[in-house]
Amino acid sequence: MGFSVTELYKKYGDKVVVDHLSFRMDEPGVYALLGTNGAGKTTSIRMILNMLAKDGGTVEWNGGPLTLRTCNVGYLAEERGLYPKNTLMDQLMYFAALRGVSKDEAKKRIAYWAKRLEAEEYLYPKQEGRKPVKPKKADQLSKGNQQKIQLMMALLSDPELLILDEPLSGLDPVNTDLFKSIIHEEIDKGKYLIMSSHQMATIEEFCTDLTILNRSKTVLQGNLAEIKKSYGRINLFVKAEQDLKALIEAAGVTILTSVGFSYQCRVTGEAQANELLKTLVAQGITLIAFELREPSLHEIFVEKVGEVHEES
């Protein structure tokens, strides 16, 4: 059972754009595909969905090849759009029909998602005074509202596997929260989700496993909690009311950034941090903050991608 990608490979001419990517999801959850621009995330997704021919590798769903017949896939593409001059309801009904959803069922599902995504006013004609107001066309909607319609299209077939490419880009904070709540809802329903995003904080909120790609190669892969644990608590944040630069450096701690009397530092481990804390207390310094924590996904990403850049 589950979803797996094995040795996925693609090249254009002599340029390798996806270099033997492999990962698997044995149970429902969220898998994150992260990477710099041009790392090969979208190309990988397109190959997974059979939009692009693979130069190598396999994509399996429940032990067989993943196809439109074998897997009900919902996809929110990074490049989003709608037929500009057609009504939104027509477009949603069209997508539902293409996915084999009956008319009646499609109407029910559209009504549900329209309410859930607060998009009813764009889909159903209203009565304003004596005149009925025609339902809107796609080009009359804002980008965020168009995104809602596209998410509805991806969800209309009640997919088993949902692939979201940059789902939250371009949304205002209110709609970001709305989208997040829907993603949580889908996770709770036991769906398989693959997410690609540049917003590390968002990914961290949802994903259990991840792959970081850089220039077509996998630079880091695994369970997010375990990856973080493997790094240990090496990030230290210190804030005081006076300059601590000399004291921190004397303790052998590396200062990464400093703003005023706030310092973002890297320690070799908990022992070094404890040693620094003792020194500061012994000096009678009033500390506002002293926090030792695991690296964030953002920091891991920057570090991993940076390493590869240095190597190359």
């Binding site: 040795e7 397109r46 969905l49 059979n50 939009m51 692009l52 021919a53 693979k54 130069d55 190598g56 590798g57 396999t58 994509v59 090849p65 196809t67 439109l68 017949r69 074998t70 896939v73 919902g74 996809y75 929110l76 593409a77 990074e78 490049e79 989003r80 759009g81 709608l82 037929y83 500009p84 001059k85 057609n86 027509d90 069209y94 997508f95 029909a97 293409l98 996915r99 596209q150 299209m153 991806a154």
Partner: protein, 474 residues
Amino acid sequence: MKNPELRGIGTVFRYTVQQHYKTRSVIIFLVILFLLAVASMPVMLLLSGRQKEVTETQIASVYLRNETGYAFNPDAVHADARYAGVTIIETAEDDEALTQRVMNEETAAAAVLSTGTDKASVFRSAAAANKNTAASVGEQKQFTIRTYYGEDGSVTGADAETLNRVLEEALHQSLLESLDITEEQEITVNSAAVAQVAKVSEYQSGTEESNLDTHAAVNMAYSYLLLILCAMSIGYVTQSCMEEKVSKLVESLMVSVSPVALLAGKLLAVAMFIFLGFGLVGAGLCISYQIAGHLGGFSFLKPLLEEIMPFRLTALHFSGSTVVLLVICMLLAFAISMGLSGISGSCVSKTEDMQSASFLNMFFLMGGYLGGVFAPLAESDAVNLFCSLFPVTSPFCAFPNYTCGKIGLPVFLLALVIQAATAVLLVRMAGRVYKMMLLYRGSVPKPAQILRMLKEERAAAKAAAGKEAPYGKQ
């Protein structure tokens, strides 16, 4: 649907058609097209100045001045049941006196029969004389019949016009009688002679050859019809192919329907739109014909058709099955044009590139059209054979050549096979290019680039491990 690649064609077709006919401008265009077709023949009739013939006349007497120099037989007028009771009064009165008569008598009409010289015949005669031909055509007489009626009387314009036509026929009869010519003699002398040149083998096999005029006219008419049909579709197909790219919907659609099904559904919708347009024009012309018949008969059509179409249907290989073949040939040509438009449309990502992308199709259309128009002028069997079989000119030339007896049935059937194979090849290629180029953004690639990309795509598909084909096809 058994082939998963084709699943969803019906849905795409229905949606495309539905959206197309929801557009107000499309409906307005179709309505205008239909109304123009309906109005065409009655307008021609009105412009020709003819009116519907009356079934019962209000005319009691006709004052007739005969200036032709030939005896006029009034019985020829009385032979028409409507004018059996009309009194024909031959007179030598001048125009003014005749005018007074029709003004004063409520049921009277006046007619003047005169003669002159046909200027065209004088010209032909002079030309013949210059060439020192043995026989001079000679000057031909031209007869004129002018009929008058009173504006305040009970005689209507239609009544007077009907009388005029009856007088025209009666004058003709009178002339035959005056010259002591029977109707049979007249028909025999006026019968057209068709000049034919044939090889002994053609003569022995009984293969008829139509004359050059007919062949050229059939070729031109067919090529023109085909050119309009195909040219109309280019824009629609190109627009249709790039619609998803421009609206950035491609990726969302591709998880729901295969590119081949998407393209096929759209092409079918465009084909339906084009044929519906043609059907509406056809229906409009039928209605127009009925209206024209109701208003004043079809006599105005004959000279017009003779002028624009020097057809002699008897010289054509024309039968019921020819109509079926005509439809098949047009559909094949349309499919080839659609395939080419599909290929060029698939390569377009921006509206401004539409024009340059249509080059391939325009080349095919113009090549075929010019072949269709100029090939008959060569009067060469080899040219006719080549044009019938060469894929670019075959859709335009094979059918007219067969109909005019320029190629035999086996060659014609071979031409149909070639056209069908070309159509299948192009439509399949359009499907592959569409699939390959759906995610392509950039300027329109050259044909050589497209072929190279197709080759690479095929090699990649072969090289892919597992070999699982998209959309479940193994």
